[in-house]
Symmetry: D2
Subunit: 384 residues, 4 copies
């Protein structure tokens, strides 16, 4: 598998280029008997799609998903679910120049070096548009995780450029174009983005994603660790340059007494682990944070070379997001869900017979905190 | 594969527990005809092994590796190379208590939740000791990468607790017990560690790893991205909580004009990408940075529960590293090398016929910098 | 991967049901730069498709293939090639009864037992129609094998019911609806089939497939043996109940002096091995023979049970092949090609550097036979 | 994975050469909590090992297995189980000649062609000795299959050279050196083998293997079909040239009314399917038959070439089985068990929630036969 299949048991094999006839994926291994229709998938695609606000690319794509197989009379049959999304807005003329010059920060150069040939239209296979099939596949995963295990996977924008966004609550996340968990800060974000867009430059972002309700025991030793697999899919998202689980890079400066999450009969007293110990879920929230680099396609002139190796200058005038991070929240959620369902199935394959021999530590930390005299209202998952 | 096999074409399947009879691995897919003997592997194991200074665990393990197969008359045959390391220093009595109580920050709880049973001796399968077989396997990978492609994989300690360690040069890395790239700072590190050890607490660390000489073109689209696979193995190392490629989390606050590495006929002008664009190597240094949490096993008393779920207190008096990060440098190097060889083989499987149709951008950035008027001596890979 | 992806490096992930909206596949790992268009794929699909003579099912399917991705300006890009075939002739009314009763010899019962649900229309996922995407994918594989290595993969009908079909030459294979390598016997086959069709019963068949031009060295030890992987894909074809390589079951009664193929400087003196020794190709023709059971869907009444477990009788009046073996030749060729390309890529991944240290034994056995005084004209691959 | 790992969830990674220091394997994915000791594994190894009668090779190997990991206090922990078998009887001098000439029918030539190097001692990696680790691993699989599902996997010698061995009952299988299911025929077999051994030649054999108690529902569509995976492992056993499921090659000459197994509320009326329909188990006995070629290493002179390509003659005077089929019964059982456990785990991963919505057809066919007026005593699994 040359890099286009994700997962071991719940697998997603994607195909397509940004400006080819269609993109899509084949989802294999979905448990049978689950109700499923396009209407279960479309909302997640709509959250991800371009053109939803002035702060993102104005490229127009309906991203209408069609289920081609694997569903009979409204239920999954256990056989492959093929999802097809026809591309609508193809303007190959926008991309004439990038066929001959490399855009700094882009995969143009590396794809040509690897394959000796590439589809330059819209970034071809390396376009962030290719996250759409994964988002569609993950809508299936999320539905199963919710119905079977009560797992919820949610994300939010935690930082935009230099601007940190303090977590207030989940509610506003779904009501603003930034997926900001803090309604009060939205006007500031809008002004910032308007200025940035006007400048022709771009900026980075931080996205946090949280899965709650994950039972303890998912994950595998060493090379199938849950945190390792999460890191892989997150770093695999376009423009991601860093991944943290729980305390992440803050762990470097912590002492052992500070970092290690103490346990009480009422639960863990903190969640520096981010819900994973030894690669296996603890039952606490799984907390992931990712760094997204600034968009590489910008209007400002940049030094580069052409495919003959000569010096050149390039400005990218296509329709691009000034901050790809703004649309990254549903994508990050999707990939976390895909890892979780795969591990849920892997876990029960091997361990379905494990008796409930150990008394479960309540994952929900509220009682523990109360017992420990800590404040109870803090909703920030990173401080859970 | 329940998490104990790494790689697709150059695979490492490990086995063993910290205090069982032996640990080891089976390396499959090694190209045939390469000279190989235990002497090629032992030095890397020796760099990783415990007991080499007062700053690391005093557990005594020779870590002598035995090649059981796959080598005939001093050359690899292309068949599986089994590596065996007998455990020597087994003191199960040290671990009586942890059989019944969970150590905060440890995998004790999650392993028991997952499997309903666990080997508590020395952390069993979740012990950092299990990185030894991977280090041994990686010595083979490094040899092939060096001989075939001139690739060098090197790492260093970049931060110890709150103490950042400015990069001076590679030379001192091999001459001090911290793998610090800066001889002048070693006395400070020693004092810091002596105090930490005395306090009974532990601290975190940052390790940077750099692969130089990697040709452009290694890596695959989407889910087989080189950066994604690097993130996976790095996050899979015991105690790692964060992974960065290139500018990593600094990307969040960068502008596009700042982050994207411009190109000239003489090479890239910077390396914020960390040597990877679109998941495929650019030919520049591959630069990875990881966060290592403070050791969970500390002498100070911690609140926990026992396996019946009752409140308990635990102090861990075994022989433990006060900072596991100190010994992590050869481990991080090893995992980077394992990802690289796997991708080298995957790349030539698909793309061995790709003609050299594009003029290669010189990866070595020195001329480019000179042309751009930048300083030439800076040896810090993160600033390359 | 729940059974719908084939291969390790050149992978085919199929989807679809016989009477759903579409069937298709995603081909991943194809080497880049190869010329490819629908016209390269359609002929193989046309050879397989129904309705081409009165001896096969009269179901009408155009089986027009559409390339959705992975090809740019007429060349493969190295990224996934998605192939889509829309279903045209859907007559779900034909299948009302089989939704409630199990057809003997069919997968109806096992699919329902496995998944608790199944798509009964046309056999759903278990229909032989699902070989079409594999045939399409294999057309790509065959093209690469031919252009890169001069490999040809060809098959023919060797037996129809009790009627053996002596091999005369390859030419007639492409000119009669049975893929019979013997024009003189075609009228007999036609009479036999006409009578069989009239009787309402069905019969089995034997198909032989031969790959010529395969270099020595493809295949892997033990569980990745070339013959093992061939056996897997062949037994995975609908209705196949037996697989032989080379002398196959005749080996049981052979003596060692008879079976083992002697070697001379001019080549092997026989090919009982069927071109594979120790799981690795010898350079001789790879010779495979498969047994295909009689079609399960027949017009004659059969005892069965309904989904409530009650006794029932079933006759299948849909449009079915009285001998599925007649259309199996292009399918068997396809699967052999898919295994070969995967092993070609796997071989060069590991062994691209193996020097030509050993003088190659000419695979072509003609000179050897001449030297040994054997007849030279025998074209039967099984006697090569 | 270069061909040395078997399975997807219950995986066996083997290593070693016939005359190297040791052979062994790593078993990953074993469900935890099962009682396991060397004593559970050794009996199967003893059934396979050489030197147990005058009819097999007189090479002496204790084949004592050592469990290196994955078992704690007598129970599996769910982590990798490493099994080590030290080689004892190494007589490299026996193999001086075959280092420079190719043995007809052997992997000598293909290994050298593939890797450019090979370990000639005892056939190296291609030796049938390498089935020992798989037999050891399968002893674990068989134990789990028996304890969890009541599955029994048993095999027997069905034909020796031209001599068919009618099945009488399972009892004698374990009491004669041929695994013949018919005590009366054993003297004939002994005379035949004595004469064969004296002649210096070798012969082939047929082995049948039967798994009873397999529930319906194991197996996957298309490329993960249970019969396909069985065919793969069987064809992967040294010297196997053909594989049949159920009626196998007899299907060619059967009519549909004859082949397809009718169903009644009491069960199936026959088992031409061999317990598998559409790649998924029916609940009937799984019946497999394999053809084993005559031993390639014989004392009689054979024409060959040396590694320089010059004509040569070779006689193989090492200690070899005159019929490798005699020792193949426990090996074939082992591989069937390994496929079954892998599919058992894969099945519950995806389908653990499938309700028992369909009334199960009794797999045991006795009542059905009685109802159909057929004889009840026939114990031959092929006629079940």
């Amino acid at each position: 598998m040359s890099g286009n299949t994700l997962g071991m048991l719940f697998t997603v094999t994607t195909f397509g280029e940004s400006h080819g006839p269609a993109i899509g994926c084949v989802v294999d291994g979905c448990p049978p008997g689950m109700e499923l229709a396009e209407a279960d998938i479309q909302p997640d695609l709509d959250r991800r799609k371009p053109g939803t606000s002035r702060h993102v690319t104005q490229r127009h794509e309906d991203d209408k998903v069609e289920i081609l197989s694997g569903v009979y009379e409204g239920r999954t049959t256990g056989t492959p679910i093929a999802l097809l999304i026809r591309n609508v807005d193809q303007r190959p003329k926008d991309y004439a120049k990038i066929a001959t010059s490399f855009r700094p920060g882009h995969a143009d150069y590396t794809y040509l070096r690897k394959y000796g040939i590439r589809d330059p239209r819209g970034g071809g296979r390396s376009s962030a548009r290719l996250t759409a099939p994964a988002v569609a596949a993950a809508a299936i995963a999320k539905k199963w995780l919710r119905e079977k295990h009560g797992v919820e996977v949610r994300g939010y924008l935690a930082q935009l450029g230099k601007k940190a966004i303090p977590f207030k609550s989940w509610e506003p996340v779904y009501d603003n174009p930034f997926f900001a968990p803090n309604a009060a800060i939205v006007p500031e974000l809008e002004s910032f983005m308007d200025a940035l867009r006007k400048s022709g430059d771009s900026c980075g972002a931080r996205i946090n994603v949280v899965a709650s309700g994950v039972p303890s025991g998912w994950g595998e030793p060493l090379y199938g660790r849950l945190d390792a697999d999460i890191a892989q899919v997150m770093m695999g998202i376009n423009a991601v340059k860093g991944v943290e689980i729980g305390a992440g890079f803050r762990s470097i400066e912590q002492l052992g007494t500070e970092h290690s999450d103490e346990m009480t009969p009422e639960g863990f007293l903190s969640n520096n682990a981010g819900g994973i110990l030894g690669g296996i879920s603890t039952g606490q929230d799984i907390v992931v944070s990712i760094a997204i680099k600034p968009t590489s396609s910008i209007r400002l002139p940049r030094r580069t070379i052409d495919i003959e190796g000569h010096a050149a200058t390039i400005e990218t005038h296509g329709r691009h997001d000034p901050c790809v991070g703004i649309r990254a929240t549903p994508i990050a959620e999707a990939f976390l869900a895909l890892v979780l369902i795969d591990h849920a199935l892997r876990h029960r394959a091997q361990n379905a017979d494990v008796a409930e021999r150990v008394k479960r530590v309540p994952a929900q930390a509220k009682k523990a905190k109360a017992a420990a005299g800590k404040k109870l209202e803090d909703p920030d998952p990173l401080e859970a």
